[in-house]
């Protein structure tokens, strides 16, 4: 046969990345089909958390998440909720008070975060997570990785997609395509099975809810409709639990824990843990000793029991919200519930029994058990990466444009030119006319969104068509053409029908970064990578010791008065002090061997302190 696909040999391996709000996952297609690539420590997913420690070390993933409690201001989570958004958007403004790190307005009306005393753009934060996924893949495969397909929620607008793509570039990846998470899930579910059916993908993840209806047949995966809610996910469930805990605590002690960022972070961890445990248990105990310190060694503890039924009561309305969105998606696809042959659950939240029951009740069929909710999206991304890079001819993904696309017309209204859920590539043309007598030019504002009010939609770009003939209003006709390529790139042109004069723009969605900035960040990232690679294991040990020291430092002042009153206390305290001294010295000397030797004694000290506080403190 003729030439095969693009030459990927010199670009290294091609991977698929599920860049999640809370967790990320990387996968590849090899001769055994799609598989998730585990990290060195065997984990299949990695927290999408980035941090800079006091010592200036950059952390990504599990380590970053673990030290979040002690370092909340320099630990960034949920960056995906902010990516590609403008500073003054409602969603960003809503987040400012909710997060433990500092946010500020960037130079391009974008969002910047501060971490370790430095400012970061959101794509830069995401790039750190993507880069870590790349490293995980390279270590596992023993080969370089150059290209990737990255997933985003179906309702992400162009700016958010572009920002995600830019994050990939900063991480040194050639992003072949951004695809929708539910579509990826469907691909992983049906790939190579020769199915002919309609399926629903119900994706309730950490930060977002997505529903997509697809039809599969002849190896073609066609998206019929998509729907979702950007601010509905596991973290909202956590917030409900946190609010419940805080309210209760305030009732008991008259203290608002929201004022204490570290307490909130501890509450957040406990809430998430309780929520997860309630998927398999009927009740859990939430225990947070020393959640609040009144000074002078006096402390308050939080202790609470949460049952599955109580949790259902706290979050029932959130789950019900997804039902209405499912109904809308079915309507958009022109389908009845009974047309759906399989419902695929995606995202950690779908492990919750109440969620499964709701889905079962709505569609009238039990959800499909065949796929792993945390890994299916990354596998789908890897499949699409494989299909594109090999020029496959037996499977094809027919994706859609997730939002209406159009322009602003007189009265600040949004006139739709390409409707949501239109299969791409596509194009459409509409003719407009002038609204004023002798109007010399028209301004074309390209918008994306669902609202009939132009200002409530996302602005993708704008341009001016001038040189119009002086004529009474309504006489000059301007033809506006929208064109979307298979890559999802939007091109808009406006033409004076009479003169043939034409203006065209490629709507390069804005991620909030300029081209120069992206290049600079990519280069900087490269520098950092070289450094951290050469530092290797040493840094990990140092980090571990530092974390332990931080923890002990935190507990020691509270434990001291308790221990002082016991017989064995003095001895134990002396020992602990010695251990700490030794560790601090090793930190200064950068003595790796001594540092590793310190880990065990430090861990013993920490657990001793914990025991003392738990048993005697309450």
């Amino acid at each position: 046969m003729g030439p095969s696909g693009p030459d990927v040999g010199n670009m290294g391996k091609v991977i698929g990345i599920d860049l999640g709000t809370t967790n990320s996952c990387v996968a590849i297609v090899d001769h055994d089909g799609p598989r998730v690539i585990p990290s060195r420590t065997g984990q299949h997913t990695m927290p999408s958390v980035v941090a800079i420690t006091e010592s200036g070390k950059q952390l990504v993933g599990h380590l970053a998440k673990r030290q979040a409690i002690t370092n909340p201001r320099n630990t960034i989570y949920g960056a995906k909720r902010l990516i590609g958004r403008r500073w003054d958007s409602r969603d960003v403004q809503k987040s400012i008070s909710l997060v433990s790190f500092d946010m500020s307005k960037g130079p391009h009306d974008d969002v910047r975060l501060s971490m370790g005393g430095k400012e970061y753009a959101i794509p830069e934060i995401s790039s750190l997570v993507l880069h870590e996924m790349r490293v995980v893949a390279e270590e596992n495969l023993g080969e370089s990785v150059g290209q990737a397909v990255i997933t985003v929620p179906a309702y992400f607008n162009d700016n958010q997609r572009q920002a995600t793509k830019d994050a990939g570039r900063i991480a040194g990846l050639d992003v072949l395509r951004i695809i929708n998470e539910p579509t990826a899930a469907a691909l992983a579910y049906g790939y190579g099975k020769g199915l002919e059916q309609k399926v629903a993908i119900y994706d309730l993840g950490g930060g977002t809810f997505d529903i997509s209806i697809l039809e599969i047949g002849q190896g073609v995966f066609e998206v019929l409709s998509t729907g979702g809610d950007t601010f509905l996910g596991g973290e909202d469930f956590d917030e409900r639990i946190i609010a419940w805990l805080i309210e209760d605590f305030q009732g008991q002690h008259g203290i608002d824990l929201r004022q204490d960022k570290m307490a909130v972070q501890r509450l957040r961890d406990a809430a998430e843990k309780a929520k997860i445990e309630l998927s398999s248990l009927n009740e859990v105990d939430i225990n947070l000793p020393f959640i609040f310190s009144k000074g002078k060694g006096e402390a308050l503890h939080l202790q609470k029991q949460l049952t599955r039924a109580a949790l259902d009561g706290l979050v029932g309305d959130l789950i019900e919200r997804t039902v209405a969105i499912c109904e809308q998606a079915l309507d958009d696809a022109g389908m009845k519930k009974s047309d759906i042959a399989a419902v695929i659950l995606v995202g950690g939240m779908t492990r919750m029994p109440r969620v499964q029951r709701t889905v079962n009740d709505f569609f009238g069929i039990p959800p499909s058990k065949g796929v792993h909710p945390d890994e299916v999206v990354a596998c789908g991304a890897a499949i699409q990466a494989h299909l594109l890079s090999t020029g496959s001819i037996d499977t094809l993904l027919l994706d859609v444009t997730p939002h209406h696309l159009g322009i602003m017309v007189a009265g600040g209204l949004f006139d739709v030119i390409i409707h949501k859920d239109t299969t791409i590539p596509t194009s459409a043309t509409k003719v407009f006319t002038t609204v004023r007598d002798g109007q010399p030019q028209v301004r074309i504002m390209v918008l994306q969104g669902e609202s009939s009010q132009a200002e409530e939609n996302e602005l993708l770009g704008e341009f001016v068509l001038d040189g119009l003939r002086a004529a009474p209003r309504g006489e000059v006709r301007v033809e506006v053409t929208f064109d979307i390529t298979a890559d999802g790139i939007v091109g808009v042109s406006a033409k004076d029908v009479e003169t043939g004069r034409e203006q065209t723009i490629m709507v390069t969605a804005s991620s909030g970064l300029t081209e120069d900035e992206i290049r600079e960040m990519a280069a900087r990232n490269q520098d950092f990578l070289v450094k951290s690679d050469s530092a290797g294991g040493n840094d990990e040990v140092r980090q571990k010791v530092q974390n332990l020291l931080n923890e002990i430092d935190k507990f020691l002042p509270q434990a001291r008065p308790i221990i002082d009153g016991t017989d064995f206390g003095v001895d134990a305290l002396n020992k602990a002090e010695q251990t700490l001294e030794r560790a601090r010295h090793a930190m200064l000397q950068k003595d790796t061997k001594e540092l590793s030797d310190c880990i065990k004694p430090l861990e013993r000290t920490l657990s001793l302190l914990n025991n003392v506080i738990q048993k005697l403190g309450g």
Partner: protein
């Protein structure tokens, strides 16, 4: 020429084995493509055309798939003309492929094989037709069949299929094709738009399955199951329209069964359906022939034969149309050969003339020209073969004997050359050139 074994396989239809587990096998993309088109009805020879693959590649791939347990061969009731017919078949496919051969895009610098270009150009050409033609479906296609045709066409022409390649002008063509396919699907998949489109653009032959669509999709093998269970999109939204449509279908069904009652009574229901389809396609072929589109007619008759192998009318129509198509094509090739002669490329000319002769083996003049040019190019033994064939085909044609004599003289067999010249002279005594040659040879012999 391909071996006999392969040639007979070309007349057989590969069938997907229901028991094979495709997922567990390591198939390559090409094999996947082949499987996507294997429907148990289409003979391998026709698949060559649908897949734009040459016979050898396809047969080798199918044999491997057979070994893997993915496909088996459907036994055909003794083919109408056996091996000979299949040779015609493949020649006809070449003819069809060659009908776009002059497009300059075929030589454009881009990252596509010739086969892929041909397929794309062909599909682009078919966009000029109605939506029915674009999707390759008939007026009676069910919602599921429309969808299937749309999926198959999308898979072949969606730009992602050629991701990352330099496509030159073909990028725009693919975009255009995909949009055309999408438009056809959007129109024909919705009850209302389909009805109004049907009224304005009736399907090519009433309710038939058209032979050549973009997708090359052959109707699904079990029409009864697809028809009964599939509810086309939008039907539920308009119950009245659905009821009317159903009634319309019933009336048409009755009319059809009346027309074809003699077939239905002699064979089972399924066989009757296939015969009906064959007849419709045959009628389409006749219409195409009347419009002067001989290549399309060949394809139609060929397809009709795959539905009803034993009908002699189809075989005759195919033979006749195929002969016409071949003659037409041979003329074009001979024209190219004359051009080569004019520019002094006797080797190319000889090869082109011999191709023309192979297309129409009763035309001795091409064999003569082939012999002359091959001789001039120094390929004596090939020249002798064509000269001998020319004499065999037309023993009364003096030029055949003259050509043979020239070759023989060149090989040193002067006596045989003299015999040939004398034969030419008896056929046409007025040719002074022959007389002169005889004299010259006799002198040399002495």
């Amino acid at each position: 020429m391909v071996e006999l074994g392969r040639e007979s396989l070309l007349t057989l239809a590969p069938v997907l084995r229901a028991d094979s587990d495709l997922k567990s096998l390591q198939l390559n993309a090409q094999e996947g493509f082949i499987i996507s088109q294997v429907d148990g009805l289409t003979p391998a020879g026709v698949l060559c055309d649908l897949l734009a693959m040459d016979e050898t590649t396809l047969i080798i791939a199918l044999l491997r798939l057979e070994k893997l347990g993915v496909v088996r061969w459907a036994r055909r009731n003794t083919g109408p003309k056996g091996v000979r017919q299949s040779a015609d078949d493949t020649a006809a496919q070449r003819v069809i492929a060659d009908s776009v051969a002059e497009d300059p895009a075929l030589t454009e610098a881009c990252d596509l094989s010739r086969d892929e270009r041909l397929l794309i150009l062909k599909a682009e050409g078919s966009l000029a037709g109605t939506h029915w033609e674009v999707l390759g479906i008939g007026g009676d296609a069910t919602g599921a069949e429309v969808k299937r045709a749309y999926f198959v066409a999308s898979k072949s022409f969606h730009p992602d299929r050629f991701f990352g390649r330099d496509l030159g002008s073909f990028r725009g063509r693919l975009d255009k094709i995909f949009r055309g396919v999408k438009l056809a699907y959007d129109t024909l998949s919705r009850e209302e738009s389909r009805k109004s489109y049907h009224a304005a653009h009736p399907p090519p032959v009433e309710l038939n399955q058209k032979s050549e669509g973009i997708s090359g999709a052959v109707q699904s093998p079990a029409p009864s199951s697809t028809r009964a269970t599939t509810v086309p999109r939008g039907e539920s939204a308009d119950d009245k329209a659905a009821r009317l449509e159903k009634r319309r279908q019933q009336i048409l069904e009755e009319r059809r069964s009346k027309r074809l009652s003699k077939h239905a009574s002699s064979a089972g229901q399924a066989a009757g359906g296939r015969k009906r389809k064959a007849e419709e396609i045959y009628q389409l072929g006749l219409a195409q022939l009347n419009r002067g589109n001989v290549f399309a007619a060949v394809a139609s008759f060929k397809l009709a034969m795959t539905y009803d192998e034993t009908n002699e009318r189809y075989q005759n129509a195919f033979a006749e149309a195929n002969g016409g198509a071949l003659l037409e094509r041979a003329r074009q090739v001979a024209g190219e050969a004359e051009d080569a002669v004019a520019s002094g490329k006797s080797g190319d000319a000889g090869r082109l003339f011999s191709r023309a002769f192979e297309m129409v083996p009763h035309r001795a003049e091409y064999a003569v020209r082939a012999a002359e040019q091959l001789l001039a190019a120094g390929k004596t033994s090939e020249a002798l073969r064509f000269a001998t064939q020319a004499v065999e085909v037309s023993p009364n044609r003096p030029s055949a004997h003259v050509a043979k004599a020239a070759v023989l003289e060149n090989t040193g067999d002067l006596r045989a050359a003299l015999v040939a010249l004398e034969k030419a002279q008896t056929l046409d005594a007025s040719d002074s050139h022959v007389t002169k040659s005889i004299k010259r040879l006799m002198k040399r012999l002495r």
